[in-house]
Symmetry: C2
Subunit: 556 residues, 2 copies
């Protein structure tokens, strides 16, 4: 009988966070402790160490995942523990999990098995309040916007052209489409609206791309919230609340320090949706880690087509980061799915299907090569993997000259990542020629074509009439010189959820654009993107409980 | 030029919260520090000291306030500092302010002038996350409820008989009346809904009346959320989420330790609306203070007709608390309003009007006498008070035999409360015969009549047809043996907002009841009660800003 992630986490004897801080080189003065095992780290760490060299940055990405995920967070955490076991000063920069989905399906974002970040209950519940601050910041814009319209609408906002939505950190399908301002006149102006989940808020994307509190304030002010009746853009700053918005975020902007099960220091900070946003932890957390550690392991959401592309084209470009190596996580299960096996049959041995599915892995390797970066394939071991499958995969990697390592971190923690860590160490010494795939000065169509052809294998990009009109409008406004944030299904290289493997020369359809002018990118939506999840028939909340001593069960 | 509250607070050199904890007698083991100046206190303090005697409990209440408030929090804080100056071991138990109203009109709930609780920015922003936990807890019920209906509605919930609303900690008038579940079927079932502000959530009332985490869980499960099509009640526990709800509140249930400007330890915890809930800080905070200090000063929302009545009839009864003395705060400004002066002219001297307005003070004194408690009138000094007015008021108190003290805490801090503190010390040694005004076993009508006649001076109580039907239904269900939580305008003894002074023999109209079965009381609504405030034309958010160093302006 396997232990649950929660049981493993609860067995861990954590070190006091003050000790973890010492280990990371964070002085007491720069630490704000939240309880015994969590802390906020001052942005002064970055200022004080501005002149010191950065450590090496290692990105963990993956092939197109099954709906169960490929284990990127788990690999990220285990790899850092592996580095520590080799005597290297390593740290992890991770995304914060969202609270809403915790009550829906099982699953979290703090790793799994013996490669987890703790205290996992706190991290998966309210943590240090960052998500709640984002919710408040987002909704103050909405309240002020609707109040502005109600109080006379001096900005002449078109009530049918409000693009800013409210958010809650809750899986609540009933709030996707609502009508507000009903009842007497004092209840405000009637209009259609909807809630997104908090991690889908542009405020989250902004938090993750800001360099400083002042940069954050400027970006929050630049959020596009509506158009006036002359179709001119209205920004959050037009409501006169940029200062208040930044004030709400004064603590949320500081990265959070926690530890792995093996007491490696971890900064966990920000967690934007990987579809409509860029899907990586905050620039400030990554940069702080780079000043504190020699090796910094981080991850980006979904497969390399979405997560790594945005990490390398948006985050690294904007933050002037230069990664040293990329770990591409694959599971034998997912490779079998890409080779045509149904989700229900992934447990059965099927070497041929797995080898056919390697086409998907090969495509993601090509993508990382296109960015000019050295890589290693990490096979995230599952109990259902058979020796024949593992041998065939090792052989495939050898034949094609792809560096590879088996990762057993789920079962063994850092000890299961030592081979992988050795391999990554070697890659970090290799010369690399990292460069983004496109130039921001190129046209929107050229940027999207480069992404789609290079990272997806698409042959063409089709635009809806609406998308074409938007491109023309953005050119007029000068919004076309921004990076592109692709919103696409994560399970396939294409925009069709079940088109597995490595489809070629297909067309990608861009349905609509959304300008995230505060974050500083243009979101290109292919297909419909869900920004407010729902609860399943039997929500995970039904299994959760807490006893008198505060002991929790059923969280994962 | 007066300094703002924020400027005064920012000038304070706070003691580290670990020092404040030591002063209060809280061991390191029972302290969870949140940053340098805030901490959560473990409920173990109560368990460990169960056998020790309690300190004296002092309630600060007021006459019917003007819209600017009478300064109860300020007096509460200053009085505790006054006790400390007299060498007494005193602590304060206060309500937590709500975040939403901070962005609306100026004003907070952490005292004022030189009698404040700090760090005031944090206390008025996210503090230790209690409000956000309540928001999440409340909204998980809603999400699960609507999801239950969407997923087949096994409980046969009548979509038109859902009584549970969503909440946000935001002044957002547009969310008062909404329609949810619009759009495709996957977006859930269409129905009318609305948001309340978080402090109006029953979860807040429950937090404040719970004895322990297990008691909290039971109460959360007992929340009435809807009726089924057979008109039978549906509770939160019927959704199978009582454990999850309690888990969400695992940290929020712990009282928060902060300090006054003069470094007196303060527990600030919970802040239910004083209209539709009982308006006092948590039982756990009050009880913890009573185990730690010899004198515990606390307050209850609005005037004695609402706040003190509920404190004495609901909280003290339920928690088996026995107060030792009551401070009735009055301002010369408010007395003039009760004597017929308009809000705009309150700055002008008017001895006659003030003396006429003393009828209001006299009525609240009667109320406290009816509860069998010793009292002192505290005149909260304002810069606009004239010597003639002060002398006349002193004389009125002397003539009628009412103990009285001038309170200058706003201008002088604890030094301005020494006379008041001396007087309260004397009262604490007096015998008192505290008893609630009604017996819970009495009928709903009898309980309400006792409250209305004794505390308001009403001659009769009128019930709407709906209220009458509800009483009949509650009797059938056995819900009529609970305390009554009156919802009434705070500015008048009556249910008419501008009926100042001490009206007599008027009728109070009960429009509707709302059963708060988790909290354990029946709310009786007189007139319409606002549970979601709106923003004014020029929200306070427009004046707020933060600089690079995190320095805040415009918060108050």
């Amino acid at each position: 009988m396997f232990k649950t992630d929660l049981e493993i986490a609860q067995e861990c004897v954590m070190e006091p966070i003050t000790e973890i801080a010492k280990k990371a080189g964070i002085s007491e003065e720069d630490l704000e402790v939240y309880g015994k095992y969590k802390a906020k780290v001052s942005l002064d760490v970055l200022k004080k160490r501005a002149e010191e060299p950065d450590g090496k940055l290692i990105l963990v990405t993956a092939i197109n995942p099954t709906k169960a995920g490929e284990g990127k967070s788990t690999t990220t955490v285990g790899l850092a523990d592996g580095f520590r076991r080799l005597g290297k000063k390593a740290m992890v920069a991770l995304r914060e999990p969202s609270l809403g989905p915790v009550f829906g399906l099982k699953g979290g974002a703090a790793g799994g098995g013996y490669a987890q970040v703790v205290p996992m209950e706190d991290i998966n519940l309210h943590f240090t309040g960052d998500m709640h601050a984002i919710t408040t910041c987002n909704n103050l814009i909405s309240a002020c916007l609707d109040n502005h319209i109600h109080q006379g609408n001096a900005l002449d906002i078109d009530v049918n052209a409000v693009v800013w939505k409210r958010v809650l950190d809750m899986n609540d399908r009933s709030l996707r489409q609502i009508e507000i301002g009903l009842g007497p006149k004092a209840n405000g102006v009637e209009r259609k609206d909807g809630f997104n989940i908090t991690v889908a808020s542009e405020v989250m994307a902004i938090l993750c791309l800001s360099h400083s509190l002042m940069d954050l304030k400027e970006r929050l002010g630049n959020i596009l919230i509506a158009y006036n009746t002359k179709k001119e853009p209205i920004y959050a700053k037009d409501l006169g609340i940029a200062g208040a918005l930044a004030m709400i975020m004064k603590d949320a902007i500081k990265p959070n320090l926690v530890q792995t099960l093996e007491h490696t220091p971890v900064l966990i900070h920000g967690g934007p949706f990987a579809n409509i946003a860029h899907g990586c932890n905050s620039v400030l957390a990554t940069k702080t880690c780079l000043k504190l550690a020699d090796y910094v392991i981080t991850e980006a959401g979904f497969g390399a087509d979405l997560g790594a592309e945005k990490f390398l084209d948006i985050k690294c470009r904007l933050a002037d980061l230069h990664p040293s190596a990329v770990v591409i996580v694959a599971t034998i299960r997912a490779l079998k799915q890409h080779g045509g096996v149904s989700f229900e049959e992934l447990k059965e041995e099927n070497v041929d299907a797995m080898l056919a599915g390697c086409a998907n892995l090969a495509k993601h390797i090509e993508t990382i090569q296109a960015f000019g970066l050295p890589y290693v394939v990490a096979i995230n071991e599952f109990a259902t993997d058979t020796p024949a499958e593992v041998a065939a995969l090792e052989n495939w990697c050898k034949e094609h000259g792809h560096p590879m390592a088996l990762s057993q971190v789920w079962a063994k923690g850092g000890a299961g990542a030592e081979t992988l860590a050795q391999e990554v160490l070697r890659l970090c010494e290799e010369e690399n020629h990292y460069h983004p795939i496109y130039d921001v000065e190129e046209s929107i169509e050229d940027k999207i074509f480069k992404i789609a052809s290079t990272c997806y294998g698409a042959g063409s990009v089709v635009y809806s009439e609406e998308a074409k009109e938007q491109i023309a409008m953005y050119q007029k406004r000068g919004w076309d010189k921004l990076p592109i944030c692709m919103a696409k299904v994560p399970t396939s290289l294409s925009d069709q959820a079940t088109l597995y493997g490595a489809p070629k020369d297909f067309a990608i359809t861009v349905r609509e654009f959304r300008p995230s002018l505060g974050a500083g990118f243009i979101v290109a939506l292919t297909g419909s993107v869900m920004t407010m999840p729902g609860l399943p028939k039997h929500p995970a909340a039904n299994n959760m409980d807490i006893d008198e001593d505060g002991h929790i069960v059923g969280l994962f």
